[in-house]
């Protein structure tokens, strides 16, 4: 099998699974219980938090464990909006955000908030000037993703952060789910107030994530209940998942430099292979994230191509897994200004450092074969 759908999810590292298993077996005490068995779990939880904070170069109490990217994005956006609506009801985001951001913003529009969805250029990049110009007296939040999940385009987070810093009354949220481990981001230096991370995109397990909340950034919690996670997120902690995630984070950061240069090599090879096929249009910008390569084959239905490749044990996807069961048209490619024919025939390859050059070569070969078979019917 050749697994090229790592932006949807990754294969958990064996070490991570081992930790998950050991923690589930040994530390099943509730961290909030005051008996000794709960104490142990709580210590482990605190240690995990400390390690995560060190890895992310932030403070321990700025790390809030969540159930993943969607929750993190919702917590950040709705949390800031509901908490600070007295200051203003205007939010700035982009047209190419993940559904968990776009839909959260749309939900807030129903509640009377106003959202500016900024356009992007052909490479899927938002303009810092646009951000600057759309800030108003009543703007309370800017939410921009770091790396786009379909295209791999990298947003100018540092520059936007510099703009946001000039307005102390507004908060800056970054969805860093796709960038983590692939495109380094210094949360502190970029002036970020809230940052979403997800475990299963870095070989951790599904159902765990982190929302970085900079100190003195009060947000309205989505879940009320106990006092877990500084009352930002009530509910018994998923300790085994959390420990597994922090381990995945450590392993990811430890190998990050090597992983990135490996991904860059694979990406180059893939590009070269795909460029030779004349039906193919590459959509991902050249200076994008190294693990995502998006391309269109106008006239060919993506779903059909995916199934044809699937039959050969090769797994790729169309767009974000969170929106791929709907229409074939990619709103992100449309936002980049691509015509319908191109934005409705896109495929996404997303790599992990575990993929090999050999797999890339096999893919190119098989893909060419699939195209020529399909061309008899579709092309």
């Amino acid at each position: 099998m050749i697994y090229f759908d790592n932006s949807a999810t990754t294969r958990p590292f064996p070490e991570v699974l081992k930790s998950f298993h050991q923690v589930s077996e040994r530390y099943y005490g509730n961290p909030s219980s005051i008996h000794g068995f709960g104490t142990e779990s709580e210590r482990l939880l605190q240690q995990s938090k400390k390690q995560a904070a060190q890895l992310l170069q932030v403070k321990s109490d700025e790390v809030v464990f969540t159930s993943g990217g969607t929750e993190g994005n919702n917590m950040a956006i709705k949390g800031v909006a509901l908490q600070h609506q007295n200051r203003g009801k205007h939010i700035i985001t982009t047209q190419i955000e993940h559904p968990s951001v776009i839909e959260a913003c749309k939900a807030l529009e129903d509640l009377g908030f106003e959202v500016t969805y900024l356009p992007v250029n052909e490479d899927g990049i938002v303009s810092v000037q646009d951000v600057q110009e759309s800030i108003r007296e009543d703007t309370i939040l800017i939410s921009v993703m770091h790396v786009n999940n379909e295209l791999g385009s990298i947003q100018p987070i540092q520059e936007i952060g510099e703009v946001a810093r000039k307005y102390p009354k507004l908060y800056f949220h970054v969805d860093h789910v796709q960038g983590l481990g692939k495109v380094p981001l210094n949360i502190d230096e970029c002036g970020i107030d809230l940052c979403t991370l997800s475990s299963h995109k870095i070989h951790g397990l599904k159902g765990t994530g982190i929302l970085f909340i900079k100190e003195k950034t009060p947000i309205f919690p989505l879940f009320h209940g106990g006092t877990q996670e500084s009352q930002y997120r009530a509910g018994t902690e998923n300790l085994a998942g959390i420990v597994a995630m922090v381990k995945a984070l450590r392993l990811t950061f430890q190998n990050q430099d090597k992983a990135i240069s490996h991904l860059e090599r694979l990406n180059k090879r893939l590009r070269k292979g795909l460029e030779q096929l004349n039906q193919v249009h590459l959509n991902s910008p050249v200076h994008g994230a190294p693990h995502i390569l998006n391309f269109s084959v106008p006239g060919y239905k993506p779903e059909v191509m995916i199934h044809a490749l699937g039959e050969k044990g090769i797994y790729v996807s169309t767009k974000s897994a969170c929106s791929s069961k709907h229409s074939d048209v990619s709103s992100i490619l449309q936002a980049c200004g691509h015509p319908l024919k191109r934005s409705s025939s896109a495929l996404r390859i997303s790599l992990s450092a575990e993929n090999t050059e050999n797999e890339v070569d096999i893919f190119i070969e098989e893909f060419e074969r699939v195209l020529s078979e399909l061309s008899k019917v579709m092309g």
Partner: protein, 400 residues
């Protein structure tokens, strides 16, 4: 800017006369231990200062570690070059150019190597002029400069330093003997331990634990506090006293108002026994005058009666807020405020006597023979030793 040395100034040790060598030896040893994880560093010392050769180690990381060593007055990052005019000039330009915020400077040359061909004053002018010609946007200001560039010309080489960084001060831990710190889970006692260490005292800790009235978490918290103290003393031993039985007996036998006095007296008796066994000559407590019932003049007098060991009370004249500030600075505050019961809060009388009478407490105590229970309690003491590494390691490392 690649600084290749850290210059360490001793401060108070200079006053130690003939005993100075012993103090410096200890400081050398404490710094060496602190830097075990920087294998390339080398410590060179002479009678009035110490140089840490970095040999490629990160200067800031080494400096951060050294800031936790008592007995150091100040540091400066230093660049060592050959004692030759041009080499010194080049290095001085590099040092000053590495700090773009510096707009004004002055040069202070000290010539320990008297055969250096240019006199100190002349060299100040000479080097000042050279810097002005080679770095843009600078002015000389001899009264209030942004950077005071120190040039120390010695036989073995010339050290160029810019700013002084404050050290932890005090005396090297281990130079003034050992004390047994009565460590509760509160804010005060770890600060008291820290301040004792600052006076060169090596600290062992004793903690009174009353299961099931006090939980494992309370004990855990105390052990964590002890671990924090290893930062300043490399190693901290903690004696955990099973106090439940004695407390129950006292609770039963001593009139309510005197319970607290009796308990403190008992703690001191047991602490003295432990100190004796460990060859320790003093006790340290976190008492602060007037803070709680046990810390009135009358209480302290009644409590102190049971021991003739000196009791070091570094906090005696401090305000709570000052104590809290120190505990935040040394990193114990967060742990101290965790809300777990300790043995002093569980058996607290409704109306503790703030002015207990010495004769009365003696009389109440005389009604019971505690000696067997005391022996049993002492026999049940368990001891844990923490090293500084424990602070950075956790039992969960294999999981994380």
């Amino acid at each position: 800017m690649e600084f290749n040395h850290i210059l360490v100034r001793y401060g108070e040790l200079a006053l130690k006369g003939k005993n100075k060598k012993q103090f410096v030896d200890r400081l050398h040893e404490n710094v060496r231990r602190k830097l075990v994880h920087f294998p390339n560093t080398k410590i060179v010392r002479n009678h009035d200062r110490m140089y840490i050769e970095l040999n490629g180690e990160d200067p800031d990381a080494v400096l951060d570690k050294c800031k936790e060593v008592f007995g150091i007055q100040s540091f400066s990052l230093a660049m060592k070059v050959d004692s030759e005019e041009q080499a010194i000039k080049d290095a001085a330009v590099k040092v000053i150019a590495s700090e773009p915020s510096v707009k004004t400077f002055k040069v202070t040359t000290k010539r320990v190597k008297k055969n250096f061909p240019i006199g100190s004053q002349d060299f100040n002018r000479e080097l000042g002029g050279y810097i002005l010609r080679n770095v843009e946007g600078l002015n000389v200001d001899v009264h209030n400069p942004d950077m005071d560039l120190h040039i120390e010309i010695r036989g073995e080489g010339t050290y160029i330093t810019s700013k002084k960084i404050k050290g932890a001060g005090g005396l090297p831990v281990g130079t003034t003997g050992k004390s047994l710190l009565l460590l509760s889970g509160g804010i005060d006692s770890p600060v008291a331990g820290h301040l004792a260490m600052k006076r060169g005292v090596e600290v062992e800790a004793i903690h009174f634990h009353s299961p099931p009235y006090t939980s494992d978490r309370a004990k855990e918290k105390v052990l964590n506090l002890a671990k924090q103290l290893t930062k300043y003393g490399a190693k901290v031993k903690v004696h955990i006293v099973p106090f439940t039985k004695l407390q129950q007996t006292m609770y039963r036998e001593i009139p309510d108002g005197y319970g607290m006095t009796a308990m403190r007296r008992m703690m001191l008796r047991i602490s003295e026994r432990v100190a004796e066994k460990e060859g320790i000559l003093s006790l340290t407590t976190g008492e602060s005058l007037g803070q709680v019932a046990s810390q009135t003049m009358e209480s302290m007098s009644a409590i102190n009666e049971v021991t003739n060991y000196p009791i070091i009370r570094p906090l005696i004249a401090m305000d709570k807020l000052e104590i809290i500030d120190i505990s935040k600075e040394i990193g114990t505050y967060e742990t101290s405020i965790e809300p777990f019961e300790d043995c002093c809060t569980v058996f607290v009388p409704n109306q503790p006597k703030t002015k207990p009478d010495r004769e009365k407490i003696k009389q109440y105590e005389a009604s019971v023979d505690y000696s067997a229970e005391i022996e049993e309690t002492i026999a049940g003491i368990t001891t844990v030793t923490f090293k500084e590494e424990d602070l950075y390691q956790s039992e969960f490392d294999d999981l994380l």
